[in-house]
Structure formats: C-alpha cells, structure tokens
Amino acid sequence: MLPRTRLSNILSNGLLWALLGLALIAPWIGLYPVLGMRMMCFALFACAFNLLAGYAGLISFGHAALFGGAGYLTGLALTAWGWPTPLGILTGVVTALLIGLVMGLLAVRRSGIYFSMITLALAQIVYFYALQANFTGGEDGLQGIPRGTLFGLPLQSDRVMYYLVLAVFVASWWFLRRVVHSPFGQVLQAVRENEPRAISLGYRVNRYKLGVFLISAGFAGLAGAMKAVVMGFETLTDVHWSTSGLVILMTLVGGLGTDLGPIVGAILITVLEEKMGTISHFLVKVTGIDWFHQLNDSVSMVIGAIFVLCVLLFRRGIVGEIRARLLLGKFAP
C-alpha cells in the first residue's frame, strides 16, 4: 500500500490536473464564459487571501478594499484616461499595493484578532472614499469599462478573454504556491506557529508580515482589476465589508492553508450565488412555502448560514478535511 502522504499528493495532483483540464474545455461544454471568469477572479482573490491567512496566520477582514480599490482605478484608467488594457490592470495592481502598504504598515503592529479588526476599520476608509468620490460614481458605480485589446487580440470576445484570465490565473496560482514553499514562506509559517521563537531566531517578523501582506494585496488587486475588466463595471459591493467576509468564507469552505481549497471554495460559492434563484424556486415547489422566494433576494442570509455551519462543524474545509483524513488514516483498516 502507498504511504499516506504519497496518496495525498497523488490525489491532490490529480485534482489539480482535472481542474485545469476542465477549465480548458469548460467554455466549449456549456460553461458561460463570464461565469467562469468570475469564478477565476474570485478564486485568485481567495488564493491571495489564503497566502496571508492560511500560511502567515493573519486573517485580514479588509481585503475588499484591495480588490475593489484596484477595480475602481483600473476602471478609471480604462474609461477616463483611455489607457490600454494591460496598463489599466497594472494601475489596479499598483493601487492595491499602495493601499496594502498603508494598511499593512499599521496592521502588522498588532496580531491575532486585533489584526482583523484593524484591517476591517481601515478598509472602511476606502469604502467611504469610494462612496463619496466623484470618479467612482457613488451608489451607481463605474459603468461601461471597455475590455479593449491585448497584442491585437479582441478581448471583446468572451472566449478570448476567458483564456487570458485562465492564463493569468494559472500563472498567479503557481507563483503563490512557489511563495509558500520558498524559504520566505517557510519563515512565515514559522512565525504563524510560534512568533516569539521566530523573533528569537533573529527574524524581523514584522518585515516578513508586511512582505506577505504586500504580495497578498498585489494579487487581490490583480483579481479585482481583472474582474472590473471582465464585467465592464465596478460597484460599491466590491469594497464593502461583506466582500471581505465573502473571500474569508470561500477560503474557509475550501480549506484554509491548502493549495486547492480556495479554488474549490470560490467555485462553490460563486455557483451558489449564481444559482440561488433556481434553488429557491425548487424549494418553493417542493415545500410549498412562499417565503423561500426570499432566499433569492437575500443571498447574504444563505452565506451567513454557511458561515456559521462551517465554523462550527467544518473548520478544516473541504480540501483540508479530505487531506486530514487521508493523512491521519481515518479510512485505514
């Protein structure tokens, strides 16, 4: 019989290649490309969050500010300034890095629960700014962001855009994984496990924390910028604290601190949001209770319920649970 760690690795690699293969053919077998791109943007957002939360143990409650902030600036660059698409996305990433720098410098001064509260509060500044500033369109949001072209490729085509997003996503995911397994990533995990010991070993813990915050911010920004380009609009939802909560939930459902968990979580939650209408109609039909129609309008209620159940019963998440069972040998004879 195979050693359990090998089995776990083979399964995880198998899942990885299966996901990639599926992603490659998905637009040709019935997946609406825009939904697929939405999934990938959120999956990248969740992966960026996971690097910070899962490996460095810093649970940010303010990642929406990076995601949405990048989206707004990308939108501004593409509409008002008329910049080419790649430059627009870069603008978004730089914005997220700048917001992340300020946020990170302040937040890494405290750890644990304080870190979460501080990031949450700082993200509110970005939210209120977006609410009041002129260029964001306030409650209406920023509309009509053009997709433009990339090296002559028409991004207006959903399928072309889909493969571009897929390429960016795969490259980013690979990079984030490299970070986790690099010496830098190992130090981060050491800090997460035992901060005083890491300090006594001579590591400048706060610099590592700030570093990982910036990497996470950059990729959260990339995700937000791409989402703005894909959808063609940017609204206050993306900078609202509920989006910070959403990315936490995606990561938690899939498995905090696992390679593939955030992707699985993001796909599940995005599909759930998308298909809530169908689900609520089904529930009304089966039970005959009209109230279930409300679920469609109040997705956040369902999200909240999953959140509560997940924290109470299922803290390791889907991928984390499978991995733990394989490694601990709950299935062993």
Partner: protein, 295 residues
C-alpha cells in the same frame, strides 16, 4: 452671530450635541464588546445585529402589540439577552479554547444571517419610530432646538454605562468577572461555575446592545441594516480605547462621538471616516490603545 474658528457657534454646538448622543450609544456598545472580549476572547461582530434587534423589537412591539416605548425598554433588552444566551449555549461555547478568530467569524456569519432574516420580512428601507409622549417636547437651548428625548437618551446611556462600570469594579459579582478575565482555571478551582458565568456575561453584553438599540430607535431610522456599519465604527473605538479597559471603552466612545460631531462642521468629507483615521493614528503612537496594556 458668535463664531469659533470662523464657524457659527450655534452650528458647532448643535453638532457637538448630536455627537454627544452618538457618543453615548458608542459608549454603551463598546462597553458590552469590551466586557465580552475580556472574559471570552470573542470579538462579537453580532453586537451590531443585537443593537438592530433591540430597535426592531421596539418598533415591532409598537406596531403589532401596541406596547409603548417604556414596556419595550424592558422587554426588548430581555429578549435580545435571551437570544444572546442561546447563541452562547448553542454555538460560541463550542469554540472555547480554539483560535479566537473563529469567534469573530462565527458572529460575522450570524450577523449576515440575522440581518438577512429581518431583511426578508422588512426590506432595507427604514421606518421612523416616534419618541414617547412624555419626551416629545422640544427644548430651546438658545443655540438649537433639541428634542427632549435626546437628553433622556444621553442621560440613560451614561447612567447605564457608569452603572455597569461600578458593577464590574465595585461589587463581588464584578470581582468574579474580573477574576475570570484574569484566570478562568483558578476561579473554577474556587468553585465558581465558569461556563454559567460566561453564558450570563454574554447574555448581559447582548442585552446591553439591545438596550442601546431601544434607546436609539427614536433617534436613528429603524432598519435591518442599521447595526452593521455602526459595529465597525465601534470596533475602531474599542481599538482606540484599548480592548481590555471598560472605562477606556466608555471614555473613548463619548469622545469619538463628539469628535465626529466636530468633524461634521469643520471638515464634512471626513466625518464618516474620522474615527478610522484616529484609530490609525493611535495605532502608530500607542499600539495597545489609549487605556490598554500590552498583553
């Protein structure tokens, strides 16, 4: 017309007065958060939802049961407190001993759930709630016309806040609570039923949020979403005051209410973010908060 820093004095005093009202609510909310956090290590995101429930129950009591404000001032906090006890028994109790972040995540999910349920029945639009007849008069303060209810709300909140502080600092019950905050294992060894104490403390903190909700009902539009933006402001206030300190929570709650009022006159664009900006400042100068101790 009298002026101060080039701003008309009546306007300034008026906004300060409204700031004081907000500050009184902040003080009550951050007080409850501080007590709960001290004993349980739980940052209760649902505090805003409990606040909203207090206000919604008050409105519902008037609408469906024709119970006036004074009855609801009694019933609504009781209901919210019982709900809080239920939450502690069913959910939070299971999270003891693991990373405190899960407490925050659980109560965050709970907030979405509670808000969602209320929204599914009442939508997002607010409903006005009239102050009780006894307090419906308007006072002429010279610089502004102030509904007498506002004075009552400030006085009641201050009384409750100071009362709670005395309860914690000066009574035997409070001594248990402080001992439990310091060292749960030790007071259990002395025969105190710690799980029950935690349950009642969470219930008390929730009831306090509910009470603030009742008091706020005639001041703020009652709506399912009234609590969640407020709770984030209160988080920032608690960080400014220092998480451990009950007195710090009260003082910084009041002070930040006043500062917000001032900002509305001096520089309106930052009035909704001034608390967060101050939090950032305090964090750079005194990471543990103004009244906090480094743990």
């Amino acid at each position: 017309m009298a002026e101060l820093f080039g701003f008309p004095l009546p306007l300034l005093l008026g906004q300060l007065m409204l700031g004081l009202v907000n500050g009184a609510f902040y003080a009550m909310l951050s007080l409850g958060l501080a007590v709960i956090f001290g004993l349980m290590d739980v940052v209760n995101f649902a505090h805003g939802a409990f606040f909203m429930m207090g206000a919604m129950f008050t409105w519902m009591g008037g609408q469906y049961l024709h119970l006036n404000f004074w009855w609801m001032l009694l019933f609504a906090p009781l209901l919210v407190g019982l709900f809080g006890i239920g939450v502690e028994r069913v959910a939070l109790r299971r999270l003891r001993g693991i990373d405190p972040i899960y407490g925050l995540l659980l109560t965050f999910g709970l907030t979405l759930l509670i808000e969602g349920v209320f929204r599914s029945f009442y939508g997002v639009a607010g409903a006005p709630y009239n102050p009780p007849e006894l307090l419906s008069a308007t006072l002429n303060l010279g610089f502004m016309f102030l509904p007498s209810y506002y004075l009552f709300a400030v006085a009641a909140s201050l009384l409750i806040s100071i009362g709670t502080w005395l309860l914690i600092e000066r009574t035997k019950l409070g001594a248990y609570l402080r001992a439990g905050t310091e060292n749960p294992a030790l007071i259990q060894a002395f025969g105190v039923n710690f799980p029950r104490m935690v349950m009642l403390t969470f219930g008390f903190g929730s009831a306090l949020a509910g009470l603030a909700g009742v008091l706020a009902a005639p001041v703020i539009q009652v709506s399912p979403l009234m609590g969640s933006n407020l709770v984030i402001v209160v988080f920032a206030i608690v960080v400014i005051g220092g998480m451990g300190s009950v007195l710090g929570a009260i003082v910084s709650g009041l002070a930040l209410g006043l500062i917000e009022g001032l900002a509305k006159v001096l520089f309106p664009p930052i009035s909704s973010t001034v608390v967060f900006i101050l939090m950032a400042l305090v964090l750079t100068l005194r990471p543990a908060g103004l009244f906090g101790k480094e743990k």
